[in-house]
Subunit: 452 residues, 2 copies
């Protein structure tokens, strides 16, 4: 049977199954939803078995369980590992929803519910493509399926799980449907993500808060010093001044710049959407280059001294900031973490002490477009959407992608079908039923044409 | 009768009266102490009448009452207005006190209690000097006495009271005992105070918090911009860069610098006391010059973005700071307030909007040492302490001094007898009984030699 026919014949069942997941409020950050997490994991286990997996298990972690399923067609075959997550973001503010976030509704050809896209809808696409392949598609790969319940809270237990189960999870490629396309008529595949380095800075001046009248002008104020230090990290041309920071940063090739400039982008609309009159960044680069392919330095938080109502004069003892760099491929986050610590220490005047703690980091990711699995994903989008997808790099980080590369040593294909208008993490999350169907077709085509 | 004899003869009564005030917990910031404020005001009223005033009243304000007393010896005489306050700072942390803060104890020749110095002890010195003058001293001036109950919370109702009662308070000089000397064997009179200008800054970037991965590098981060702006306000040589900021700042004369350098000052001890390895300030000026006679710029508070536990990436919508300048004589605080607002607006890049609000300000104060009342105070210290007091300028502001100058048009003599070791505002506040007595002698001498 043809995939289109299969979808049409089974559409109402697909919807029922999808809705059965959406009705379970799997807010991973909410302790009260703990029983729902278990319930949803078990529901997935059933759906996975019904779709044709040989086995499906709900495996405990220190947090919410992970669902694992596998179909070993032939041990000598190559293996695809599909990743998704069954947890969702909190639905608040509830008053902005047009319908109950946990009672899915179809309106205007879209399904409206928390998780309709992220990631219950997209995971369902993967499940139904697999189901078709088992029944009518001549599956030439082993397939493993892993669904976690903690993606929206930073996957605190995934890395441990991967390490503990790396034999079970052995695979040749990871397939993830958890990202977006540029537009319904402009399919795209995310091929690059930025890495991250994150620090907390503590500047200590005097041993207690001082009277700014009695001491001001003679004793260094740690907030003043913190501002001075942080202001030096970005030069007037937008370059980051940390010594050796750019040593491993490759400049963009002409081909890459051409590809990036092909991505439709309306700067006026972008500015209007975020409410700014002007943009600012590294001189010599476009906005898309700046926010996806070039490193950045942001102060994520700052605090110190008196922050209450009115005017209280104080020369505080301490000042703090949380700062981060987005990194690009080949920049090692641990190296950058050290470079920044050294830089701050070197710049710190002797009138204060400066402590810099590295809190968190992750490597950038790049999926080479020459990879057979990338070509297969490209063919899938072409078949379903009638247009070759653009390869785009994104400025954010998806920690699980780094985990798969570092723990399992395997590349990830981000075959995502979301849209900006799907409002993930916001009220009125939704997913187009048309794109849901096209997604299934695209993944089926991926299975068909993939040659590893 | 000689003043020394009078003090010796009446010492135990003086102590009883002083202690009766110290036992009333007049913490002006504590709503639960409201009845105690009233009680203490009434107690003062009684003491004032007993000391020899013609009348004494407890006068209501929008906050705690003001006690007012007067003795009109002859309407054609000149008038001295004595100012003090009966409220105190909170005693917390209580566990650090060696005895109950509101049960005065004598140990080692000192009285230990909250308010022992600030300002119940010092106000008592004024009262007892007046009492002696009435009984044995041939009083050649009219004397008015005002005690407020809100000095420690910023005197929110004093200015209004002064304006409403300026005829009643008409005087030729104000005498205040609420400051400190350099050391018991090194008497000093505060002749200058710095002024203040205080602003809040709000920097707004995007219309909501953005994902620092998706936008970082392309959109200006308001915390980064705030740090850049604030870092520019002080040049590497420690000079404030606000245009025209120094236009009205007089450089110190050789004589003034000589007087300042005569003040004993141990820089190593100063650094050790506040726990810093190095000091920092305007190039070309000593520490004492920097913290008392030169203007300063301090960031009193800063906040924005994520300030909780751990690593959260965000490109925030807003960043805030509270900043202040200490000003020196001839700098008008309103002019400086405008200069800073203009400076920030001129420097603000068009990728953010910057709002600067002037919250508060006050003029600097200088008491010319040629003033007859200054010379009389000098003579008083000389007589009681055996040494001519040094004229010192202080870096802080005493708002009531500005109020007296601006509302009543009268200069203030800060004839204070405190010591750094008296621990005002801290646990174990205390006052030396020996200095208490010498203070009375000094004020009596002031009355005797003053020729206005």
């Amino acid at each position: 049977m043809d995939i289109k026919d299969y979808i049409n014949e089974n559409e109402s069942r697909f919807m029922d199954e999808w809705f059965s997941l959406l009705r379970i409020p799997t807010v991973s950050s909410c302790a009260a939803n703990k029983p729902d997490m278990e319930k949803c994991a078990v529901r997935w286990q059933t759906l996975l078995m019904e779709a044709g997996f040989d086995k499906a298990e709900v495996m405990p972690t220190a947090g919410h369980p992970i669902v694992y399923a596998e179909k070993i067609v032939d041990p000598s075959f190559k293996t695809i590992l599909v990743y998704g997550h069954y947890d969702v973001m909190p639905p608040e503010p509830l008053e902005l929803w047009k319908s109950n976030p946990f009672e899915p509704e179809v309106r205007g050809g879209h399904v409206w519910a928390r998780g309709a896209d992220d990631d219950k809808g997209q995971s369902m696409i993967q499940l139904k493509a697999f189901e078709y392949m088992v029944r009518y598609g001549h599956l030439r790969y082993n397939v493993k399926f892993i669904l976690e319940g903690e993606e929206e809270i930073g996957s605190p237990n995934l890395n441990t799980f991967l390490k503990a189960n790396c034999r079970m999870l052995y695979s040749d490629i990871v397939l993830v449907s958890d990202t977006s396309m540029l537009a319904p008529d402009l399919p795209s595949i995310t091929t690059g993500l930025r890495g991250l380095a994150y620090w907390e800075i503590e500047v200590t001046g005097p041993n207690r808060d001082l009277h700014s009248g009695h001491f001001g002008g003679a004793v260094a104020n740690p907030i003043n010093v913190l501002c001075e230090l942080l202001a030096k990290v970005i030069a007037p041309d937008g370059r980051i001044t940390i010594p050796h920071f750019y040593d491993e940063v490759d400049d963009l090739s002409d081909e890459e710049r051409k590809m990036l400039s092909d991505i439709p982008f309306d700067e006026e609309r972008y500015k209007t959407a975020i409410g700014v009159k002007a943009l600012r960044g590294e001189v010599g680069y476009s906005t898309i280059e700046r926010n996806s392919c070039r490193p950045s330095f942001d102060i994520c938080g700052i605090w110190g001294g008196y922050t209450g109502e009115g005017a209280k004069t104080v020369l505080p003892s301490k000042a703090f900031a949380k700062v981060s760099c987005r990194l690009v491929p080949r920049q090692n986050h641990e190296t950058v973490a050290r470079l920044f610590v050294d830089y701050m220490q070197a710049m710190a005047p002797d009138c204060v002490s400066v402590k810099v703690t590295s809190l968190h980091g992750g490597e950038a990711y790049v999926c080479p477009i020459s990879l057979p699995a990338y070509r297969a994903a490209e063919a899938g989008f072409y078949k379903a959407f009638g247009r070759k997808p653009l390869a785009v790099r994104r400025g954010g980080s998806i920690p699980v992608v780094s985990d798969f590369e570092q723990v399992l040593g395997v590349k990830t294909i981000l075959m995502g079908f979301g849209l900006e208008s799907n409002a993930i993490h916001s009220p009125n999350e939704n997913f187009s039923i048309d794109i849901f169907k096209k997604g299934i077709e695209a993944v089926v085509e991926f299975y068909r044409v993939l040659e590893m």
